[in-house]
């Protein structure tokens, strides 16, 4: 009997852009579709309860996910795990072990949903990719990339809790039924994501339960902004920026490229490229946008800014008012609250400089009326919001660069209203993702909950709110539930489940719909005893109804989908089409009129130390505190992982007495005999495992906390920035942090989140995200911190390169922009003098693949694919999305805080971040100015506001790889396609390769990080006595096409070789197709190299796919002009005098450490700063690698 072969689904021709995915609708067009839907998942796939651990699907998945991947390694080692792989008794359709299936879905979030393509293996979602194509621009951020891990979080809530204690579903059903029977007043608190089905159910529930009201709350969406927006644009309005039209952008502490998104920022990157988004033409400064940023702490947006002004939180509104005044806008209270001359001097050295700055900015904005936009930080005060609206109105931004939309979120109350309206008659339902007991300052929320009749919390985590509520119901992850949502621009998007709820969680729609359904139940007949009309008591349905029926949420979503405002089509076809695409193409929000913002400035004193509360790039408002990938991902700015800290400027650190000295960015020290040398002393807090930051006690009117202090370059003076979201549970004593134990299944935090960071909410007195510290004092204690990067300056090495569109003096010449571009490859002290790499041997180097077959000796083995990558620093913000995406794709383990502190993190993509500032004044020709024989240092206000350049570094796949020559066992070798590959099975771990890697891109498994849980204290050091985690839930996320590395093995980026191979295999089917088409014998059909070459830019690697900014180009260099990566690296070809074909480099493209001659395949494109020549700091911008080098 021949084996039945399941063919992997074909890619339809029209599906370009995304590799391929399948939706249920496409699979089945039969009338029995509804039934088939429920068979989408193998039987029992969802139940991950403890009971059926033996020989169940869960066990199977465990084995598939972890052990089988491990077997590749363990078979060759001396240990072989006992494993029993059970084949499917009845194979689910389309499921081929090891072959991915792709489905479209979306991740709902308050800033607009992220449309996704979800990769699943045997029913397990493993990886999320952006699903573009709807015209709004799309990428994924680090939070989205990491959200798949939350699905498998072992700490996820799986039990009903009553008053914090485990309870049964039956008990809860009784409570639920009594609520439904009474039909009393409900107060439903939801998140601020726009869910059309929820909006629809809202009105139904408000009818069915009279007096009920819905409220929405997100901890990090400023209430002040919401109020102003409601007033000016109407209830439930949302303002989205269209950066493709914005020539000039002024950010008032708005991190729109980072934690404060206001719509997609893909268009920002395009504009940043100055017309060279796909590298078909050279960068044009005229087309490039210009970004001004006023901010307190450095943000990713500040890093991209052409001009950055650091200011205290209280000064942001004043500066906004200055700009408004410059644009002749009447701001109420302007005269009284005006920024003082002293403040001006403190900000920019002198009042003249400040006035020049404002004037330069204002004139630039005015000159680009209709194409300029001012973005106010969403967490800023009412003043800032109003002034920003007024300026935008004046600049004609609305309808052009800004669109105010009416969303479906009309009629939701605010959190303040919720707090005011909840009384003892109210049943409180907390359905949102926020954690108000923790998030709301003042700690009154818990008592509010106890005031309510009954409070029910639905959540993924047993967080503080879950424990403070009467009832906690485990929630379903968005990858487990049906739902719908809208993107920032209003595109209607569907959320479809990939797997049944692992822990039996309920979705928000399920709860709401069942609330309605149960209200309609004739309770008199429930278990009435009367045999005829008695009906059984209804049961709450999560994920799947009885006998495999669909979740009620599906019916609700389809009902919403069929509404006239959406598809207006009840047929299956439209639904299936939308399900396949993941979104409804034609849908969008309607824009609204702009009202009168009534700009005003409230006079506010700004003496003393101000506090600035930040959104955290890792834990967000705290909801991701149990996500290991995000916790371990270093903060993009401070590079701190696993904690938060108080960030202060170097000067303030000294003045507060935290540090004895001002930490200098690039200090010079006098060395005997050597004279003044640029030195890299130990940072003030020591390095590596010794790194310990001093603790301070901060007191405000609201409370106090202790927190370690880190020096943050470019931070405003006299204020402290602290990220929110940390400090939710600790086993050690921490001020205001709930006690938590590692053993308690219902603790506030799990193993990941325990003892991470400090709760800054204690210092907040109201909804405001700024405040004033009454007292800051050193406690004398120190706190161990895990900093991934401890040295912040490039130390004169042109690693991340930068040029300016303005004229720059350089080596005795004044260089205009074009000349600077031409000199990018010569930046830095060594690369500029690197001689031509003349070799005794055959011609080698990064140009080998371009060989002219007739004339020059062709050395490359593979003439079909030669892979290459280019990373554009001009668009890379340094946001960590690629880092987390890589972790998800390549089964990279987390190692825990202590190992990170030692320097053993495993990220294949290392996100370097450098600060750079000129140290000495230069004349227009680029020579250092001297006065009386002494070099003239730049003024302090310049030095204290350095530029920030990120640089993602992973293995650059050197053609002349130093690692390969030194491996004694040939474990790292070059492939014919130009990859520097790793044979994990062959690696014995001498670590010589990593020593010899100039980029330090290699990662060594010092312990069995996959086998032994690194988060259990000392576990790694216990050896075989340690607690193993093989087969634990997070292992279900593993990509089966990437081997899980054991200890003692070196690993690193290999350009997602598994993706390349699978793309090549797919392409090879052309031979079969050709044969079938021609009807000839397969032996007679010739397949050419061109046939086997995959289509240009059709394969994407994980980091590239995730990148919001399109900063990473990857592809086949043999595709030449057709490949984006080729265009990023080269302009064209020419014949040299010897008749050889040579490429002309894209001048902005350079190899890092080119002089070593490693000939890397990954190159970088220099960052371009576009300063305004009228600004006082123009001459200091865009020089990160020129004048500091």
């Amino acid at each position: 009997m021949s084996k039945r072969i399941w063919h992997h689904p074909e890619i339809p021709e029209e599906d370009e852009g995304i590799a391929s995915w399948r939706s249920v609708g496409e699979l089945e067009r039969s009338p029995a579709f509804q039934e088939q839907l429920n068979r989408e998942f193998p039987e029992g796939s969802g139940h991950l309860s403890e009971e059926d651990q033996q020989a169940s699907r869960r066990s199977f998945l465990k084995l598939m996910g972890a052990s089988s991947a491990l077997s590749g390694l363990t078979l060759v080692s001396c240990r072989r795990p006992e494993s029993y792989i059970v084949p499917y008794k009845k194979a689910p359709e389309w499921v081929i072990p090891g072959k991915p299936l792709y489905y479209a879905s979306s991740r709902p979030r308050a800033e607009g949903a992220v449309p996704l393509v979800v990769t699943t293996f045997e029913g397990r979602p493993t990886k999320l990719e952006p699903n573009g194509g709807h015209g709004e621009g799309c990428g994924t951020d680090a939070l989205t990339q990491a959200s798949v891990l939350n699905l498998y979080d072992p700490k996820r809530s799986r039990d009903f809790l009553k008053g914090g204690q485990k309870a049964s579903q039956k008990d809860f059903e009784e409570v639920f039924s009594s609520i439904a029977q009474e039909g009393g007043k409900l107060a439903v608190l939801v998140g601020e994501d726009d869910c059309p089905t929820r909006n629809r159910l809202k009105s139904e529930i408000e009818t069915a339960y009279p007096g009920s009201r819905f409220y929405s709350f997100e901890a990090l969406r400023g209430e002040a902004r919401r109020e102003v927006h409601t007033e000016v644009f109407g209830d439930g309005s949302e303002v989205v920026v269209d950066l493709s039209k914005a020539d000039r952008i002024l950010s008032l502490d708005c991190d729109f490229l980072g934690v404060d998104p206001m719509g997609s920022h893909a268009q920002f990157s395009e504009r940043r490229q100055g017309g060279a988004g796909d590298y078909r033409q050279q960068i044009d400064p005229e087309v490039m946008n210009r970004l001004y940023a006023v901010e307190t702490a450095y943000s990713l947006t500040g890093g991209m800014a052409d001009h950055r002004l650091r200011a205290k939180p209280s000064q942001i509104a004043k500066i906004a008012a200055e700009v408004a005044a410059g644009l002749d806008i009447t701001v109420g209270g302007y005269e009284a609250g005006k920024i003082s001359a002293e403040e001006k001097t403190a900000l920019l050295g002198s009042a003249e400089n400040f006035d020049k700055w404002i004037e330069g900015c204002v004139e630039d904005l005015r000159a680009h009326e209709g194409k300029a936009v001012v973005l106010a930080g969403s967490r800023h005060s009412e003043d800032v919001q109003r002034i920003a609206v007024a300026i935008n109105k004046k600049l004609g931004a609305y309808g052009e660069t800004l669109v105010a939309y009416a969303t479906g979120r009309e009629g939701y109350g605010t959190i303040a209203e919720f707090e005011a309206e909840v009384d003892s008659d109210t049943t409180v339902l907390l359905l949102g993702p926020s954690n108000p007991v923790y998030d709301r300052p003042g700690g009154k929320f818990a008592s509010l909950l106890s005031k309510a009749k009954v409070s029910i919390h639905l959540g993924l985590r047993t967080d503080a709110t879950a424990r403070a509520s009467d009832w906690h119901v485990p929630a379903a992850h968005y990858l487990e539930s049906w739902g719908d949502t809208r993107t920032a621009g209003g595109t209607y998007s569907l959320v479809q489940p990939m797997i049944l709820p692992l822990y039996g969680g309920f979705s928000e729609i399920e709860i709401l719909s069942q609330l309605l359904a149960w209200r309609a139940v004739d309770w008199a007949q429930v278990d009435s005893g009367n045999a005829e009309d008695s009906i059984p008591a209804p049961k709450l349905i999560a994920g799947e109804g009885p006998e495999g029926a669909a979740s009620p949420a599906l019916a609700e979503v389809r009902k919403t989908f069929a509404l006239p405002s959406n598809a207006n089509d009840e047929s299956d076809t439209a639904w299936k089409e939308a399900l396949k695409n993941g979104y409804l193409q034609s849908s969008s929000y309607s824009s609204v009129e702009v009202g009168d913002p009534a700009p005003m400035l409230t006079a506010r004193k700004s003496d003393g130390i101000e506090l600035n509360f930040l959104a955290d790039a890792s834990v967000w408002d705290g909801r991701y505190i149990d996500n290991g990938w995000l916790q371990e991902a270093p903060d993009p700015i401070s590079k701190l992982s696993w904690d938060n800290a108080a960030l202060v400027s170097p000067k303030t650190a000294k003045s507060l007495g935290v540090y004895d000295a001002v930490q200098e960015l690039e200090p010079e020290t006098d060395v005997p005999l050597l004279g003044k040398v640029k030195n890299a002393p130990k940072p003030l807090i020591d390095e590596g495992q010794n790194a310990a930051a001093p603790m301070v006690r901060i007191k405000t009117a609201a409370g106090r906390m202790e927190i370690p202090v880190l020096v943050a370059f470019g931070h405003a003076d006299d204020c402290i920035s602290i990220a929110l979201g940390y400090g939710q549970g600790a086993s050690d004593k921490r001020d205001g942090v709930e006690p938590a134990s590692e053993d308690d299944a219902h603790a506030v935090v799990g193993l990941v989140g325990i003892n991470t960071g400090f709760n800054a909410n204690q210092l907040r007195s109201g909804a405001s995200f700024s405040g004033v510290a009454a007292d800051v004092a050193r406690t004398g204690e120190r706190y161990a911190v895990a900093l991934v990067q401890e040295h912040n300056a490039m130390n004169g090495r042109a690693l991340a390169r930068e040029i300016s569109t303005g004229e720059v003096g350089y080596h005795g010449k004044t260089l205009p922009f074009e000349k600077q571009v031409a000199k990018v490859r010569e930046q830095g002290p060594v690369d500029s003098h690197a001689p031509e790499n003349i070799s005794l041997y055959k011609r080698r180097g990064s140009t080998t693949w371009e060989g002219d077959k007739d004339k020059q000796e062709d050395l490359i083995s593979d003439k079909i694919h030669q892979w290459g990558m280019a990373i554009d620093l001009n668009t890379c913000t340094g946001c960590n999305a690629c880092l987390v995406a890589c972790q998800a794709e390549n089964n990279i383990p987390i190692v825990g805080k202590q190992q990170v502190a030692m320097g053993r993190e495993m990220h294949w993509v290392r996100m370097d971040r450098y600060f750079a500032t000129p140290v000495y004044e230069h004349d227009e020709k680029g020579y250092i100015k001297k006065e009386g024989g002494k070099k003239v240092p730049v003024p302090d206000w310049v030095k204290e506001n350095p530029e920030m350049v990120p640089q993602p570094v992973s293995c650059v796949q050197c053609e002349n790889a130093p690692c390969e020559t030194v491996c004694p066992v040939n474990a790292t070798v070059h492939t014919e396609e130009g990859l520097n590959s790793m044979a994990y099975n062959r690696c014995i771990g001498t670590r010589y390769c990593a020593n010899n890697c100039p980029y330090k891109a290699r990662r060594f498994n010092y312990f069995d990080y996959n086998k032994y849980n690194p988060l259990v204290a000392h576990n790694l050091y216990k050896g075989p006595a340690g607690e193993t985690q093989r087969g634990a839930a997070p292992h279900l996320q593993r990509n089966p096409n990437v081997s899980v590395r054991m200890r003692g093995v070196m690993e690193k980026c290999t350009y997602c070789v598994q993706r390349l191979e699978s793309a090549k295999i797919k392409q090879k089917q052309i031979g079969r197709d050709k044969t079938l088409r021609s009807g000839a014998k397969s032996t007679e059909v010739a397949v050419s190299a061109e046939d086997l070459r995959i289509k240009p830019d059709s394969v994407k690697v994980a980091c590239q796919d995730a990148c919001d900014a399109n900063a990473i180009s990857f592809g086949n260099l043999l595709d030449k002009e057709e490949a984006k990566v080729w265009r990023a690296k080269y302009k064209g070809e020419k014949k040299n005098d010897k008749g050889f074909v040579e490429v002309i480099h894209n001048p902005r493209n350079y190899d890092v450490l080119q002089y070593i001659g490693t000939a890397p395949r990954t190159s970088y494109l220099a960052r371009v700063k576009n300063p305004n020549p009228d600004m006082p700091d123009a001459e200091y911008r865009g020089l990160a690698t020129i004048h500091t080098a």
């Binding site: 001396c78 002393p681 004694p968 040939n970 050091y1021």
Partner: protein
């Protein structure tokens, strides 16, 4: 028979003859010791009860070896290389520092036994045996580190060119593989050389043993040596050939070890000066270690007449020479880094001196370059306390040298984003102390069971062993002390015929 307690019964050496006749060579065996006395004295070390100090040293060092090396390795292999302090920035830390340190120690042995033999430096005879033993033990200690520092030690056989099913050969371009071959060759040749040289002496001990296990074992290892002319003739040829064979090894082993660094592209490692500088450093460190162990041995076993102040003087001079070569190399490295104009190279050396590991650099410079300069002064070479102190300094200094090269370089390489301080863990420290224990314990066992001085060769070094020896002829001018050969002992009736 032999003295009951080696030290107490030994006669006090005559103070060194201050005045020597013109062009007269200092005697290599003092006090006109007879052939018999030499046999008695050397064999006495084995046959007599060990002095208390032996036990006082042996017991703690054995414990150190068992706990440090045994326990340390078991913990390391079961748990992972992570128990050391190595990180993803400083991939090689103490283990490789210790490896290079011990390999360096092992150098003096072969130099003394091979090169000094070929160059007919007869003063080598009384120290070569102990130096060779030291070599063997040092290489054993050294070998532990590279073998166990790999991530998967159970796969370390991939390093051996064994035909296997994978059909993958080793990467012969890798200096690490050269290292494997160089060190294993060095170890095997040194072992054979050491053993072969010991055969006549083992036979002597065998002949002096009573029947029993001891005699059987010494008999087994003396390979049926009867001291016939034919034996001696073959022996000497074999010894000469082995000496010739191991001479290039003296230069090759540490050159190859230095290639681990020199062939890499890491600034601070990538220097052509490394091979000679490493060899000089190894000899330097090796002689310091010979002195460190021979001075106490000489004292406790009363070997002063065979290991004379002349020997110590010679070794001190070699230390001075090689120490100065090493110092020159240090300075030349700095100069070349400066002269190259290569930014990264300059930075690497700047950070060595001024960076976070400045203390290691200072320790290295003061121990290796400054402390041997004392040996310019004769009284320093004659004062055993000074000699011992300087040797100790050099031992420490050579460890710091390797630390400076390996750790400070890796902690500050190309990309500042990677820079991170490295700390050794307690396992690192324990394992290193364990190898010190192992080395000392093995050396004490060597003293206990094997002839620590080459009896036969020391006898050759005596003037009267020369077949052409003629006292009158040697000193035709009157007024010189006429050497009465061992006749004076015969006259006293103390010598056995």
């Amino acid at each position: 028979m032999a003295d009951t307690a080696t030290k107490t019964a030994s006669e006090a050496s005559a103070p060194r003859e201050v005045k020597l006749p013109v062009l007269e060579r200092e005697k290599l065996v003092l006090n006109k010791r007879s052939y018999h006395w030499i046999t008695e004295r050397v064999c006495g070390v084995i046959e007599n009860r060990q002095p208390r100090i032996w036990w006082a040293l042996f017991i703690p060092t054995v414990i150190m070896a068992i706990v440090g090396v045994g326990g340390g390795l078991i913990y390391l292999v079961t748990t992972g290389v992570g128990v050391w302090g190595n990180t993803n920035r400083v991939m090689w830390g103490w283990p490789i520092v210790n490896f290079v340190f011990w390999i360096g120690i092992g150098h003096a042995g072969t130099l003394i036994s091979a090169i000094l033999f070929l160059t007919r430096q007869n003063w080598r005879t009384s120290i070569n045996r102990a130096a060779e033993a030291m070599t063997i033990f040092a290489v054993i200690c050294a070998g532990i580190f590279p073998a166990f520092h790999v991530g998967r030690v159970w796969m370390a056989w991939y390093l051996a060119p064994i035909p296997n099913a994978n059909a993958i050969w080793q990467n012969f371009k890798s200096p690490l593989l050269w290292d494997v071959f160089a060190v294993s060759t060095y170890f095997s040749i040194s072992l054979v050389f050491w053993f072969l040289g010991m055969v006549p002496d083992l036979a002597t001990i065998r002949d002096r043993c009573k029947r029993g296990v001891k005699k059987a074992l010494y008999g087994l290892f003396s390979l049926g040596w009867r001291g016939s002319n034919r034996h001696w003739s073959h022996y000497e040829m074999a010894y000469l050939l082995l000496a010739a064979l191991s001479t290039p090894l003296v230069l090759s082993v540490h050159s190859v070890v230095s290639f681990d660094f020199a062939t890499s592209i890491v600034p601070g490692w990538h220097t052509t000066i490394f091979p000679p500088y490493f060899v000089a450093g190894a000899i330097f460190g090796g002689f310091a270690m010979v002195l460190t162990i021979m001075i106490p041995a000489r004292f406790f076993y009363g070997l002063d007449d065979m290991i004379t102040m002349k020997h110590i003087d010679n070794m001190a001079k070699i230390i001075l020479l090689t120490g100065s070569i090493v110092g020159y190399a240090y300075l030349m490295e700095l100069f070349v880094a400066f002269y190259s104009g290569a930014k990264y190279e300059m930075a690497a050396f700047t950070y060595r001196i001024t960076g976070p590991y400045w203390w290691a650099y200072v320790a290295m410079m003061s121990c290796n370059v400054l402390s041997p300069q004392l040996f310019w002064f004769k009284w320093c070479r004659e004062n055993l306390w000074v000699v011992m102190g300087v040797s100790m300094c050099v031992n420490a200094g050579m460890w710091f040298e390797r630390f400076v090269i390996i750790v400070t370089t890796l902690a500050r390489d190309f990309m500042p984003a990677n820079w991170k301080y490295y700390n050794a863990s307690w396992v690192d420290i324990g394992l290193f102390l364990g190898t010190i224990g192992l080395f000392t314990a093995l050396f004490l066992l060597f003293l206990r069971f094997l002839p620590c001085i080459n009896i036969a060769e020391v006898k050759w070094a005596k003037e009267e062993s020369d077949v052409h020896f003629d006292d009158k002829k040697a000193h035709p001018d009157e007024g010189t002390v006429v050497e009465a050969s061992y006749q004076h002992e015969l006259e006293k009736g103390t010598a056995e015929v």
